[in-house]
């Protein structure tokens, strides 16, 4: 598996801090929902930095979309979100990760628990589900700081129904009139939103490490089998 050249096709803002960058990657072999790529940037003097980003898009020829959150103190994400223009090139390696994947043929019930930009691989799963015409019982519990920070907000509103439930929790500020959850994900919320352990759901949790740890522990406390809970932790390096 080698490094491939990826050319920027377009840059789409999602939220004030998040952009989706669409790449054209000649020779792209296709990918599965949940997989990610390693991105490598090389400066003129040879200095290199590398980060991992989840693939947001469904397989579509040579097209690979990455949704990237601009981290204030980041070394790579500010470059990717501030600098990249159509025609620019980076390198990427992948697709990688065969464990944190979901295929429509696996069916549901599916519980997807996202923390901030951890929604990206889970959105890839939701998009794959839609593309396959699946109506598997799928529930997304999505934690964001505020309504403005909800990535893919409008698309999620449109996709609701046909077995897809989307529940938001907004942890820092809520729009006036908000009647939804306004706190961090906990066992009580997971019990209210998710399928019960007896339904044997497949569970995917993705987000910053402390979020994933807290959610995974709560799920096990609720009685979910640890081996049915797959986790992907985004560290401070963004990958």
């Amino acid at each position: 598996m080698t490094w491939r050249v990826a050319e920027v096709v377009k840059v789409v803002p999602e939220t004030p801090r998040v952009k989706t960058i669409a790449f054209d990657v000649p020779g792209w072999p296709g990918h599965r929902a949940g997989q990610h790529v390693d991105v490598r940037l090389t400066a003129e003097d040879g200095y290199q930095a590398q980060r991992s980003y989840s693939i947001a898009s469904v397989p579509d020829g040579t097209r690979v979309d990455l949704t990237i959150e601009r981290l204030q103190d980041g070394e790579v994400s500010p470059y990717l979100t501030d600098e990249l223009r159509p025609g620019d090139r980076i390198e990427l390696r992948g697709p990688v990760g065969g464990w944190f994947v979901w295929e429509p043929a696996q069916g549901g019930p599916l519980l997807l628990v996202a923390g901030g930009s951890g929604v990206v691989p889970l959105m890839a799963m939701i998009r794959a589900r839609t593309a396959a015409g699946s109506n598997a019982d799928t529930r997304l519990l999505f934690s964001s700081r505020s309504w403005e920070d909800v990535i893919y907000r409008d698309e999620l509103e449109r996709l609701r129904g046909d077995g897809l439930t989307v529940v938001h929790t907004l942890t820092r500020s809520q729009p006036s009139g908000w009647t939804g959850y306004a706190r961090r994900v906990d066992a009580e919320m997971l019990a209210e939103v998710g399928p019960s352990p007896t339904e044997l759901p497949r569970v995917y949790v993705c987000g910053p490490t402390p979020y994933v740890e807290a959610v995974a522990e709560a799920l096990v406390q609720l009685g979910h089998e640890p081996h049915r809970v797959k986790t992907e932790r985004f560290g401070p390096t963004g990958g």
Partner: protein
């Protein structure tokens, strides 16, 4: 729990380059506590090199040191590794 810790997914690309097979679904057995886990579920730390630790007992299972194309893999704590080729 350490906020800096990642999991095996974070180094899936590196592992695939080294082992030429999908590694996050491989199962490693810890030689200290005997637990068997998917590599994707192992705890990954980035120090001077990469350390993969048992999520149950923190034992260092695998270390990876990279110098461009030269890679050293230490299997310090793995008793057995099961892969699908």
């Amino acid at each position: 729990m350490d906020p800096l810790m990642l999991d095996g997914n974070a180094i899936a690309g590196l592992l695939q380059e080294v082992f030429a097979v999908e590694m996050t679904t491989a199962i490693g057995t810890c030689n200290t506590c005997g637990a068997a886990d998917r590599v994707g579920a192992l705890r990954v730390f980035r120090g001077a090199g990469i350390v993969m630790r048992c999520p149950h007992c923190d034992n260092a299972l695998v270390t990876i040191v990279e110098d461009g194309p030269r890679v050293w893999i230490g299997f310090a704590g793995i008793r057995t590794l099961q892969v699908t080729i």
